[in-house]
């Protein structure tokens, strides 16, 4: 029995592909699924739950590998909005660039964007780890609650706006910080975290070159004494 199966989106619908990934793998002995001709369509490999590899060969659309559990999904191209949104575990790797909201609301697992990620990368992240080989756009890690965002390039405006307990590490320039985000000194454990995440992401880098960004926690409590204008 073949361990590898190819699914062609030129002849199958996304629903057919995803139904196979959800229900057709049990007991089949298939360990790797190659999906060809993605051509920018949405929701490929969304909602997976299993110990197998999925390779998407080409540029894909929105919501790729959303809600992923345990599976290892690799996109050999660019992706549209919200790749790996709400990822629970496993890993999602984008060999090209990712559009907005990569890893949005992710609870666990690893998201690797080898190229650039656009704005709002890691928005509302809740415990996943995101490693971006290139740069991230504006409002990245907005309202990040837990987890780690590692950016090997530059960060756009308003990095970490309204940040909770997610931690951000940036190697390059930070255009501006969002409300309540601040740069902090790198401690030994920060270097260890960056080292570990770069290693699992298989991206080269010297942890000593990174800056730590975290919440100043000034927004945690309402301060009625500060004049507010709405």
């Amino acid at each position: 029995m073949d361990r590898v199966k190819q699914l062609d989106l030129a002849s199958l619908s996304v629903r057919e592909v995803n139904q196979f990934l959800h229900h057709g793998l049990a007991g089949s002995g298939i360990e790797q699924i190659d999906i060809v001709n993605p051509d920018g369509v949405h929701s490929i490999a969304a909602g997976l739950d299993g110990d197998f590899d999925v390779d998407i060969r080409g540029h894909a659309g929105y919501y790729i590998a959303g809600m992923n559990k345990r599976a290892r999904v690799t996109i050999h191209g660019n992706v549209g909005w919200s790749v790996a949104e709400n990822i629970m575990s496993g890993s999602v790797r984008v060999k090209g660039h990712a559009s907005e909201c990569a890893g949005a609301s992710g609870h666990g697992g690893l998201v690797v964007i080898e190229g650039d990620a656009s704005s709002r990368c890691g928005i509302s992240m809740k415990g996943c780890d995101i490693v971006v080989g290139g740069s991230v756009g504006h409002f990245s890690a907005f309202m990040g609650q837990a987890g780690t965002l590692v950016v090997c390039g530059d960060a756009g405006p308003h990095l970490g706006d309204s940040l909770y307990e997610a931690t951000i590490y940036v190697r390059g320039d930070i255009q501006s910080f969002g409300a309540d985000a601040q740069q902090e000194d790198m401690q030994a454990e920060d270097g260890d975290t960056v080292s570990r995440l770069l290693a699992v992401a298989a991206i080269d880098g010297d942890p000593n070159q990174f800056k730590r960004v975290a919440s100043a926690r000034r927004l945690y409590h309402w301060n009625a004494a500060v004049p507010q204008e709405y």
């Binding site: 051509d39 659309g61 549209g80 559009s99 756009g137 504006h138």
Partner: protein
């Protein structure tokens, strides 16, 4: 591309095609009428009689194109006086516009988009959110000569922009927010601004979410609002530039695998000259 993007907007669609420019004396007028069985022959006969010129006519369904050397003001005056039911969609030496209600695929077939020829084109598929579904509310919007705009998003201050422009004598045809953006930019161009400086002013004056794709007789221009709330993807090759809301609509273009595919940054002006 229009067929593919029908999944994003399926209530109406439109296309502006920029043809090889006419000589300085001639204009191309694109006309539309809601009556799908309109008597274009009588329209033509009356127009030739009144204008006494060597006009060229093309009709397709409820659209017509008139190419003639009548000046724009005289044409508009004749149209509003003699054929008030006919709407002028566009005027210029290059631009031709088609727009209608229905699924984008059907509209593309109805008007033979696949057979149109030109240097560049701007298309739009619409899912109405802020104003009515009608051919007049469909995009592209035009203003002045050889200028059009399509919009993905919603402006939050179209009415104040409109009031400001109406005080300057600029008239509107619909209550659509994209028309406000279109007329604002054309107003700046007519005041002598370059497209870049017109857009810098638009970044300050227009509030809301937008990706605008605009065209003049020789230029294609793309901008996104400061928050980049609405998508856009660009594919550049040696042979062509294509812009779409999603890569899906570009995926089947020739040699797309060799194209430089990128997402435009917020509040950055991207322009390409034909």
């Amino acid at each position: 591309m229009i067929d593919c993007m029908g999944t994003r907007g399926s209530d109406s669609a439109g296309l502006a095609v920029f043809h090889e420019p006419l000589d300085a004396a001639h204009r191309r007028f694109s006309l539309y009428v809601s009556d799908r069985h309109y008597d274009w022959q009588t329209f033509r006969d009356d127009f030739v009689l009144a204008a006494d010129n060597d006009s060229e006519f093309h009709t397709v369904h409820n659209h017509a194109t008139v190419i003639c050397d009548l000046d724009v003001a005289s044409f508009k005056s004749w149209l509003s006086g003699s054929r008030p039911e006919v709407r002028l969609l566009s005027v210029g030496r290059s631009i031709g516009v088609y727009k209608d209600e229905g699924h984008p695929r059907d509209i593309a077939q109805r008007f033979g988009f696949a057979d149109l020829k030109g240097t560049h084109a701007v298309g739009h598929t619409r899912m109405a959110t802020e104003s009515a579904v009608s051919p007049a509310h469909a995009h592209p919007f035009t203003a002045g000569e050889d200028f059009c705009l399509v919009h993905n998003g919603s402006l939050s201050n179209p009415h104040s922009v409109r009031r400001k422009l109406e005080k300057k004598g600029i008239t509107f045809e619909t209550d659509n927010d994209a028309e406000a953006g279109c007329r604002f930019l054309e107003w700046r161009l007519s005041e002598g601004d370059s497209l870049d400086s017109a857009l810098e002013m638009a970044f300050r004056e227009l509030d809301g979410f937008y990706t605008f794709l605009m065209a003049t007789a020789d230029t294609l221009v793309l901008v996104r609002d400061g928050f980049a709330c609405k998508p856009a993807v660009v594919a550049e090759t040696d042979a062509y530039v294509a812009v779409g809301s999603e890569f899906r609509s570009l995926a089947h273009l020739p040699a797309i695998e060799d194209a430089n595919v990128f997402e435009p940054a917020p509040e950055q002006i991207y322009s390409w000259t034909v």
